[in-house]
């Protein structure tokens, strides 16, 4: 199966870097499980990712979650969403990317967003201990889900 794992966020803002940490772990795990994996790491999502998703069977977006009340980590399947948060392409999410693919008549892969709750987003290249622990648990949960997904 062809899979893209896209981690994004600001690596200089504490827990906003979680996508940069967790996405490579997930990509490595999937690759070691025999999947064909493309790892995509950026500071933000951009329209160009639709070309990277074009030929994939599955996509995982990995991001931080500012609202911890939703849980330590959230794993959700995404649907096309025309609403863009904010004014410009700096703030697009996976749902908008799927919407863009639909408008461009590009077949979209089954897409999931994996979010890990952040504790703090101040200037630092280190994640908080809380977020590190949540990231480990999230990875364990992903592995468990992947093994049992059928």
């Amino acid at each position: 199966m062809k899979i893209i794992v896209a981690g994004y966020g600001n690596p200089f803002r504490e827990d906003d870097r979680v996508g940069h940490v967790l996405a490579p772990q997930i990509a490595h795990y999937l690759e070691s499980s025999g999947e064909e994996v493309e790892l995509w790491i950026e500071q933000q999502l951009l329209p160009e990712i639709v070309e990277d998703m074009r030929d994939k069977d599955m996509a995982f977006f990995v991001d931080s979650l500012a609202d911890a009340s939703k849980g330590d980590h959230v794993f959700e399947e995404m649907e096309p969403d025309p609403n863009i948060e904010g004014l410009n392409i700096h703030s697009m999410g996976p749902g908008w990317i799927l919407h863009l693919m639909r408008e461009l008549h590009i077949p979209a892969p089954r897409t999931f967003l994996i979010s890990v709750a952040g504790e703090s987003f101040n200037f630092s290249e280190d994640m908080t201990q809380e977020c590190k622990q949540r990231t480990e648990k999230c990875f364990e949960a992903f592995v468990k889900w992947w093994k049992n997904r059928i």
């Binding site: 329209p47 160009e48 070309e51 025309p82 863009i84 004014l87 392409i89 408008e103 461009l104």
Partner: protein, 477 residues
């Protein structure tokens, strides 16, 4: 002091540009526009906190000014550092740097035209804001949207191949570069060009058709005669390394000088209401010495493009006026597409040059010269990095004149022209506000760069009375 009989309209934020900005329109008592100003309201101060750092760190520090054109800062900074070391690059290093620069020009110009500005052109300034965006373009003109995405991706892949990352890549080092490209990478880059170039030419025809069909608007929208500035080499448009040329409104070369002497010719005017400075040509003073840079500035300042297809298109571009000088502000988009064409052709030339896969990447030196100046043409215009260092190489002074600043006077004048033509009283419809924003979009400013500011770019439009009291404030966040 504010006149007691005026009111003010504020557009805040200006959208679909890079950074944060605000427009203030001051109304007279009769509802006519007294003046309009484009404010840049943020400040970050790289020129200050870089002091004390080793100059060799600057090509890594200064790209953090911006996420859109980090390559431009990376290269200008590296060029300044080359001068401090007193070295001349190997042909391979110089060509690899220029190759990355072409990737930057392609991806940034594609972003400006296809993602940010084309919605206004395709749907109209006063169309529904809900569709006036890249998703709207994708829905109605999917081939055009795909072309924009494809060009962005192509340019970014060049940057990533050389610098390992699309944003904030690291490739240039003082004295050279840190990697070359493989034969496979060269082949892959070359393969991508023909199809994109063909579709780009179709887009140029589309834009020409639009300009013909909207001739009155295209020729009058925020249009005024100015001087133009850009780098040239042997008289041709140059983006990486050349002399700075100023050309007057009637097409006479006013001045041409080494980029190392920029400070003798370019001054910087400051206004209290904006963090963005106003560069000007010293011999004429401010504001008469104001000029425009960027795509329109460069194609007006040069004699020609050095590549065949872009040169042929430039002749058609210039045939639209009697004297070949094009002052129409909406033609910034047309000029931007010509520069993408040039960048594709120049990329082909560089990739077909045997030096590009060479292995002599770096020249070393223990010399430290007290001063270094690096000038390149960023997508938005002439970018100047000027460093002074002590005997150990620690930065003592930094001066950055960024592309957007050069166009500050023109952006303000253009916004005021549109405001005066369209605003009569405080009831201003959204289309008029968007027209004022589009003046700014023509110049594709990067306010993060120009103020070295943090964040995205909301814009506010504020309408104030003559006492400066806000009577209407429109904000977009």
């Amino acid at each position: 002091m504010a006149n007691k009989n005026t009111r003010t309209i504020e557009v805040n934020p200006v959208t679909r540009i890079e950074g944060h900005g605000k427009i203030t329109v001051r109304l007279n008592e009769d509802g006519s526009v007294e003046n309009a100003r484009f404010h840049v309201t943020q400040f970050r101060g790289f020129e200050i906190f870089s002091k004390g750092r080793d100059f060799r760190e600057m090509p890594v520090i200064t790209p953090r000014i911006c996420g859109i054109c980090p390559v431009s800062h990376h290269l200008a900074s590296a060029k300044a550092c080359d001068e401090i070391m007193g070295v001349t690059l190997t042909p391979t290093a110089a060509k690899l740097r220029e190759l990355m620069h072409m990737g930057q020009i392609i991806q940034s110009h594609a972003l400006s035209f296809f993602h940010l500005s084309s919605p206004d052109i395709l749907f109209g300034f006063d169309s529904d804001p809900a569709i006036r965006n890249i998703a709207g373009v994708a829905q109605k003109y999917p081939e055009l949207a795909l072309l924009g995405i494809g060009m962005r991706k192509y340019g970014q892949e060049i940057i990533k191949t050389l610098g390992t990352k699309k944003i904030h890549p690291w490739h240039s080092i003082p004295g050279g570069v840190n990697r070359s490209i493989t034969e496979d990478e060269r082949t892959s880059m070359l393969e991508g060009i023909p199809n994109l170039k063909t579709k780009l030419k179709e887009t140029i025809e589309l834009v020409k058709k639009y300009l013909d069909e909207h001739e009155d608007q295209a020729k009058t929208f925020a249009t005024f005669d100015t001087s133009y500035m850009g780098l040239v080499k042997n008289g041709n448009l140059e983006l990486y390394d050349g002399e700075i040329r100023l050309k007057g409104p009637r097409g006479r070369v006013t001045d041409q000088f080494s980029s190392d002497e920029y400070y003798k010719y370019i001054g910087e005017h400051v206004e209290s209401w904006s963090y963005l400075k106003f560069p000007f040509y010293r011999n004429l003073g401010f504001p008469h010495g104001s000029y425009r840079v960027g795509p329109l500035g460069r194609v007006n300042a040069c004699n020609d493009f050095s590549t065949p297809d872009a040169s042929a298109e430039l002749k058609k571009f210039r045939s639209r006026t009697d004297d070949g000088m094009v002052h129409y502000t909406l033609y910034y988009h047309y000029a931007r597409l010509l520069e993408i064409l040039y960048a594709f052709e120049r990329t082909e030339e560089l990739l077909n040059d045997s030096d590009i896969t060479g292995s002599e990447l770096r020249v070393t030196s223990r010399d430290i010269i007290a001063e270094g100046i690096g000038v390149i043409e960023a997508p938005r215009g002439t970018l100047i990095h000027h460093y002074k260092v002590n005997e150990k190489g620690a930065i003592e002074k930094v001066n950055l004149i960024v592309a957007t600043g050069h166009n500050n006077y023109a952006m303000n004048k253009g916004v005021e022209m549109v405001a005066k033509e369209n605003i009569h009283g405080e009831d201003v419809d959204e289309g008029v506000l968007n027209s004022m924003e589009h003046v700014i979009r023509c110049y594709d400013p990067c306010l993060s760069c120009s103020t070295h500011a943090v964040g995205k770019m909301p814009l506010s439009v504020n309408i104030v009375d003559k006492e400066g009291n806000s009577i209407r404030n429109i904000e977009k966040h």
